[in-house]
């Protein structure tokens, strides 16, 4: 989610503003610090972050209030669901492209990352596929897609445990 925070323009305020995110188990994805944008003696900082749930978000909001950090805007909270697979076997670059494009086409996808690994000694190949979707039902669509591709191309699909 995104937050537009307003901080006092004094040293150390940025760290004080970001601390509550990690304290409540959040994950910061990006920070844009607008030094030039001073409104009422405060500077604007845009933070993109992930939060585990509503309770943790409320904790962050309370901590910001206590630290005199104003929250000018806050995007709505939406839940994401993670998927994770390891693929093992003979996986071609074309197949990797196909996997990426196939997952990117899944409705309600939030993010997807692929990490490719080849053993220098054995030539074994493995790929980590990790991502998030915004609707639980999209997990099944990713799963169906990868199962079908693994069956067609003949590599091993190792799925996560899910919930």
């Amino acid at each position: 989610m995104h937050a537009d925070l307003r901080l006092k323009d004094v040293p150390g305020q940025l760290v004080r503003a970001l601390e509550p995110i990690s304290t409540f188990g959040g994950n910061i994805n990006g920070v844009v610090h607008h030094h030039e944008k001073v409104i009422g003696g405060r500077i604007s900082v845009n933070v993109t972050f992930e939060v585990k749930g509503q309770k943790q978000l409320e904790g962050m909001l309370q901590a910001w209030k206590e630290r005199d950090v104003d929250v000018a805007k806050l995007s709505s909270l939406f839940e994401t669901y993670e998927f994770e697979y390891v693929l093992a076997g003979d996986i071609s670059p074309q197949e990797l492209r196909g996997i990426t494009e196939g997952i990117e086409a899944v409705h309600d996808l939030d993010s997807v990352e692929l990490r490719y690994s080849v053993s220098p000694s054995t030539g074994d190949k493995a790929v980590l596929v990790y991502g998030k979707v915004k609707q639980k039902a999209a997990l099944d669509r990713v799963d169906d897609l990868l199962r079908q591709r693994a069956m067609d191309a003949g590599y091993l699909l190792i799925g996560g445990l899910g919930e």
């Binding site: 390891v86 080849v118 053993s119 074994d124 190949k125 590599y155 699909l157 190792i158 799925g159 445990l161």
Partner: protein
């Protein structure tokens, strides 16, 4: 008063059951007021039937010394020889045959259709013909118990049926093959390739010369089919289980999983909508990330949440322990039905 038992199959498990009956019979008698007597024993080529009772120690000694338990079968079948014999419980512990369930299936059907209770460790007939066996038992007023068929000494079926009876069980995820677990564990801990870890398992006696029954997920799938029928009431067979083994698990895949703080395990998952055996990524520290040759079951329920059971999933006395627990359960039911006091 006695419970007269005929044991069909006298290999590793059968001999373990005979030893367990010899060791624990007196305790069960004091608890349930009935003597547990062995009155028949069959191995693959010979048999002994004796209505007066057979001493378990004597038949074990005979098997060790002569390689047989009694007179030669000479072409006679178990159902033929038992047709006019009076007994109460058949303990069916012949080897698993996942192609057609035989000869165990015929043995069990012969007992059940005669109204004789069956206790078994044999996965094949249950994984292939569960419904037929359950129907035969119901129609003829017999009981069939099979705790030893899944998880051996780990009491998954009886816990689900008897201790979690008020729960709605959403799903069961389990490690049910110790051989696969040993191989995957060695690959992760020592960085061994699959072939080398398999050879090690064979040298230690965990895996057979032909390891396909274990590493291709056949054994796990048979157990998953039994759990699906017994616990979820699904009418399915071994062939309905979506099955992937562990042959394709590479060192690189194991290493990539480790970077994510995960291990690879062959997981059987059973629920009303899922019936699958496949390698899965399991977070380290999760109950299913168990090492060695142990079996583990994670039961997910509505009230109790997650219940985890772990124990030895194979072995002579471990499997015999599960058979004995089923025999004890039958004796307990007899005791209650006859209005005797449980001690």
């Amino acid at each position: 008063m006695s419970v007269d038992i005929v044991m069909v199959g006298f290999g590793t498990v059968g001999q373990g059951v005979a030893e367990a009956i010899g060791r624990k019979g007196a305790i069960l008698q004091s608890s349930f007021g009935e003597k547990m007597r062995l009155v028949g024993v069959f191995d693959s080529s010979s048999y002994e039937l004796n209505a007066k009772g057979i001493d378990p120690r004597e038949v074990l000694a005979r098997k060790e010394k002569l390689g047989k338990v009694g007179a030669r079968l000479d072409g006679s079948t178990v159902p033929e020889l038992l047709a006019d014999f009076d007994y109460d419980v058949m303990v069916e512990v012949t080897p698993t045959n996942i192609k057609d369930g035989q000869p165990g299936l015929s043995h069990m059907m012969c007992a059940l259709t005669a109204g004789i209770d069956v206790v078994t460790a044999n996965k094949g007939p249950l994984a292939l013909n569960f419904k037929e066996l359950a129907q035969a038992a119901e129609k003829h007023g017999a009981r069939i118990r099979f705790e030893a068929s899944v998880g051996a000494a780990t009491p998954i079926i009886n816990v689900a049926h008897e201790l979690l009876v008020a729960e709605k069980i959403h799903s069961i995820r389990a490690i049910v093959n110790g051989t696969c677990n040993f191989i995957l564990n060695r690959m992760a801990d020592e960085g061994l390739p699959f072939d080398q870890a398999l050879r090690e398992a064979q040298e230690l006696g965990y895996a057979e010369k032909d390891p396909s029954y274990d590493v291709d997920g056949i054994d796990s799938a048979a157990k998953a089919a039994i759990l699906a029928n017994a616990i979820f009431g699904r009418e399915c067979t071994f062939g309905d289980v979506r099955r992937v083994g562990i042959r394709g698990v590479s060192q690189e895949a194991v290493a990539l999983a480790a970077e994510e703080k995960k291990v690879i395990r062959l997981v059987a998952e059973v629920s009303p909508s899922r019936l699958e055996v496949a390698p899965r990524l399991v977070p380290t520290g999760h109950p299913l990330a168990i090492g060695g040759t142990l079996n583990v079951f994670q039961i997910i329920t509505d009230l109790a949440g997650e219940v985890t059971l772990a124990g030895k999933g194979a072995g002579r006395l471990e499997t015999a322990s599960a058979v004995l627990s089923d025999l004890a359960a039958l004796m307990r039911e007899n005791c209650v039905a006859k209005g005797r006091e449980l001690k």
